[in-house]
């Protein structure tokens, strides 16, 4: 052990005046640079808060529950967009979690040669790198035309359920959910893979030792041991899905009319911002800022919760 800390060793040394000046100056510089993060966060909060003040005064909490979005009579309510944000991200999560966790298990198990598994892992990581606007373009011209007959069939068979009650006419909530699945799959897969790899091999060996099968061990021992990390990853993916803008904007149809149906065009907070912010003026800007504030609070809560889960619930294996 060292008698004193490294930081003290540097400070206690005899230094020339100029050296001291450079050292201290550099330290101050890094402090200033580090505090920029805080300033930016504060700036984002203040900008959005001050921008939305007018709309908060005018509409209050009714903004959250009404769904009229009428620039002519200047009546705004964000219920359609809030509902769209929550329903698209939750349903996308519902599809992506089994797919992502299943893929992560497949990549971490020794079912296929290591090379193939590494290749699959690389593929999933590259999928995460594709810009969302390119996925949106693909969704408009390839995925949606392919999907439409399927969605029409769903509408004909299950049309009596409100969720499928409208005839699909191109862009809509359902294709937006599917493109969100594509976007959050890599996050869920990557984080689940990391959590599964951290489970100590002794647990698996013990499970095999008392006579279970591979999947008995995975489902009853390894997944429960990795569940905290996977949950954290799922929450991060939820935050990402709620804030995702471009691909969703391009395929969701951007309708401000409320509909329960997943096959009808809809709206999310971020797609509304992307679509209207550039052309808005007056109280509409303020209403959009209010919606942005709601989106910020939603993603902030989800992200802080995700970090808390990862830090508090993660099992520490030394």
């Amino acid at each position: 052990m060292t008698p004193f800390a490294l930081a003290d060793a540097f400070r206690l040394r005899r230094r020339s005046g100029s050296e001291k000046l450079v050292d201290q100056g550099f330290r101050q510089l890094t402090i200033v640079l580090a505090s920029i993060v805080g300033l930016v966060l504060l700036g984002i909060l203040l900008t959005v808060l001050s921008g939305s003040k007018e709309a908060i005064d005018a509409f209050g909490f009714k903004f959250l529950t009404t769904s009229s979005w009428d620039p002519v009579s200047e009546k705004y309510g964000a219920f359609t967009a809030i509902y769209g944000t929550i329903i698209t991200s939750l349903l996308a999560l519902l599809i992506a979690v089994p797919l992502g966790v299943g893929t992560a298990i497949f990549i971490t198990e020794n079912l296929i040669p290591l090379r193939v598994r590494q290749f699959l892992g690389l593929m999933v990581e590259l999928l995460a790198a594709i810009p969302s606007v390119v996925l949106g373009l693909w969704a408009i011209f390839v995925m949606e035309p392919f999907l439409r007959p399927i969605l029409e069939a769903v509408n004909q068979v299950f049309g009596w359920i409100p969720l499928f009650s409208t005839v699909p006419q191109g862009p809509g909530v359902a294709p937006a959910i599917l493109i969100l699945v594509v976007m959050i799959l890599p996050i869920i897969t990557a984080i689940s893979r990391d959590s599964l790899m951290q489970v100590p091999p002794e647990l698996r060996q013990a499970a095999y030792g008392i006579g279970t099968t591979r999947w008995g061990a995975i489902l009853q021992v390894i997944l429960p041991a990795a569940v905290s990390g996977i949950t954290g990853g799922v929450m991060l993916a939820l935050g990402r899905a709620m804030g995702e803008t471009m691909a969703v904007t391009m395929i969701i149809g951007n309708s401000t009319n409320f509909s329960w149906s997943l096959l009808a065009p809809g709206n999310t907070i971020s797609s509304m911002l992307a679509n209207q912010f550039g052309e808005a003026d007056g109280i509409q800007v303020s209403a959009l800022m209010y919606a942005a504030l709601i989106l910020m609070i939603l993603t902030l809560v989800v992200n802080v919760f995700a970090q808390w889960i990862v830090r508090r619930l993660s099992l520490k294996y030394s």
Binding site: A34, V48, W215
Partner: protein, 307 residues
């Protein structure tokens, strides 16, 4: 001879306490059937997971790749309804904005990372900065656009200009910042303390130790993170649509609206003109190739980190 009896009973299948059949793998048992079922299910899930990448790549590479020509890379986009033209201004614009954003985000991010790992690893301010970095990483990119719009575009602080390349670059820099800080912080933590002790022993100051010893030995993980951050920023659209806007002309300085490939794809994809839509595919091709190349380059860089 009697002591060998159990052994003999094992060899004849139908005698003795153990039936040999029980020791063999029996695929018909329900546990083994479930095992096979789950294995196939997870393989199927992995297939579904990789499928979109292949489909997207195939379409972008075939549809976009077939359109690439010298004219496409060097000309301006056509007026709506006309044929031909190119995306030269958007390619140049993306490079300018991303470069400018990197020039802002890398010094700030690396400086912040140095503070976190070299000066204050566990103080309250460092904890706050770490928490803030994580929060900032989770802020949706469209909110960064709204922030810069409110701060710079609507207030016209830069020489009375509203939409500008600089505003777009600042929005992208805000997005890159958390990644750069985190990778710098984590890369510097991996540098063994012996190197810092050694530097102290030969009489280096803290400043010299950081700039000549610690930073260079953490270069490759930091570079990996920075390249990934740049690649991500190059493809971002949401922060640019109402900060840098779009321009059908060549870039006219940093204080005017500027074209970029991502905004071009967004704008042209929803136009009813065939020429614009094929330009959107061509821009996707160039963007995807650039970003995938950057990602593979980052992986190549990270190999040096492990050695």
């Amino acid at each position: 001879m009697t002591s060998l009896q159990p052994n003999a009973s094992l060899q004849s299948p139908d005698q003795g306490p153990f039936q040999r059949k029980a020791l063999q793998f029996q695929p018909s048992l329900s546990r083994n059937r479930w095992n096979l079922f789950f294995t196939l299910l997870s393989a199927g899930f992995a297939g579904i997971c990789v499928l979109p990448l292949f489909l997207v790549l195939a379409y972008v590479l075939f549809k976009g790749g077939s359109l690439i020509s010298i004219q496409l890379l060097t000309q301006l986009p056509p007026a709506p309804g006309l044929e031909g033209g190119g995306i030269g201004n958007a390619i140049l614009g993306t490079i300018i904005i991303t470069l400018l954003a990197s020039l802002i985000a890398i010094p700030v991010g690396v400086g912040g990372g140095i503070f976190l790992s070299e000066y204050s690893t566990s103080g309250p301010f460092a904890q706050f900065v770490r928490f803030g970095t994580n929060v900032l990483a989770g802020v949706p990119s469209i909110i960064c656009g709204v922030f810069v719009y409110g701060l710079i575009v609507s207030t016209r602080v830069f020489a009375g200009q509203s939409y500008s390349a600089l505003a777009g670059a600042i929005a992208l820099a805000v997005l890159m910042l958390p990644t750069v800080i985190k990778t710098t912080d984590e890369a510097l933590k991996l540098v063994p303390d012996e190197l810092r002790w050694g530097a102290l022993g030969v009489g280096a100051s803290k400043f010299i130790t950081i700039t000549r010893i610690t930073l260079p030995s953490a270069f490759s993980p930091i570079a990996t993170g920075v390249v990934l951050a740049i690649a991500r920023a190059a493809g971002e659209t949401a922060p640019l649509i109402f900060t840098a806007l779009f321009s059908p002309f060549w870039p006219e300085g940093l204080l005017n609206p500027i074209a970029s490939m991502s905004v071009l794809i967004y704008n042209f994809a929803i136009m009813p003109y065939e020429a614009q839509i094929s330009l959107a595919w061509a821009a996707s091709f160039i963007l995807v190739v650039m970003i995938l190349a950057a990602n593979l380059f980052a992986r190549y860089l990270s190999r040096f980190a492990k050695a």
